[in-house]
Symmetry: C2
Subunit: 174 residues, 2 copies
């Protein structure tokens, strides 16, 4: 089951940035008010930043970033205070959204936390309202992924176990 796309989760609070990896993210709604879910362990620094700021971003890393994804998922800023610098994670921001975004990903979603204390405490489940979203047009355009016509290193990665990923494969019609 757990081979949906791996996401990088980023947040900023009081000038502190962090990025973590999460294997369990999903979509709740793609209508007028798109929403996403992500499971964030209580031990993570990024979760603390999200609870403090009420904002986060989800982004989809690609095959070229498999090593970086494992690195940000294996080290906590609790133990490595300069984690992003140390791991060489380059971030950027876009106007009107004060949340760090990871360069080199293929899709980004900026979200406002919809506070649901019961879900957060009981299930480590966070729900976000998507406020802005865009993707690398080489792999996503007109509402569809186009991995077949893009460089292989831009394919999304889906964590299996122990740093092993399955990449998004060929397209079939049902």
């Amino acid at each position: 089951m757990n081979h949906g796309p791996t996401v990088l989760v980023s947040a900023r609070s009081d000038g502190v940035d962090n990025v973590m990896a999460a294997a369990w993210a999903g979509v709740l709604d793609f209508g007028d008010a798109p929403k996403v879910t992500v499971v964030l362990d209580k031990s993570t620094r990024t979760r603390e930043l999200i609870e403090a700021s009420g904002r986060f971003a989800l982004q989809l890393p690609c095959a070229a970033q498999a090593e970086l994804t494992v690195a940000v998922g294996s080290h906590s800023a609790h133990d490595m205070p300069n984690k992003l610098d140390y791991l060489g994670v380059t971030t950027f921001t876009v106007p009107e959204h004060d949340v760090p975004l990871v360069q080199g990903c293929v899709a980004w979603l900026i979200c406002r936390l919809l506070p649901e204390p019961h879900n957060q405490q009981t299930y480590d489940l966070f729900i976000g309202q998507v406020e802005a979203a865009w993707a690398d047009e080489r792999v996503f355009s007109q509402g569809r992924w186009h991995f077949d016509t893009a460089p292989d290193e831009l394919r999304t990665i889906h964590h299996v176990a122990g740093g092993q990923f399955i990449v998004a494969g060929a397209t079939v019609q049902g």
Copy 2:
């Protein structure tokens, strides 16, 4: 974001069986008490059966079942009372779990609904405790997927749009 594996959701209540497709399913926890999430639209017959019985199964269809997956996702038992027969969906059950399971899938999870009325009403989000789970050993063993060494038609399928799916691709190490 929405290219996690497509799941088939099945349920039984008062002798009535149904199966639907869902693109938005995920994992909440893989520890001692594994839990899953699935988004179920209020219009679906399967949701009614789950609310009545408190049980459901999630299963992962494979590339060979892309057409069947589109079919069960496109027709409602509200409009097609004999839906499973009409679409040629073959189900089976296993001892001690009174829920229909779809033949030909590559993984099955039998779940007990953890009632969360707020999530169900507000987000169409259902949470299940996994009570039994198993997979086709040709594609999943020892905690990992092995699509590279199995027939291509056993790869899981990830819905993109309009009946188009991405299949699980090659394996890379991070």
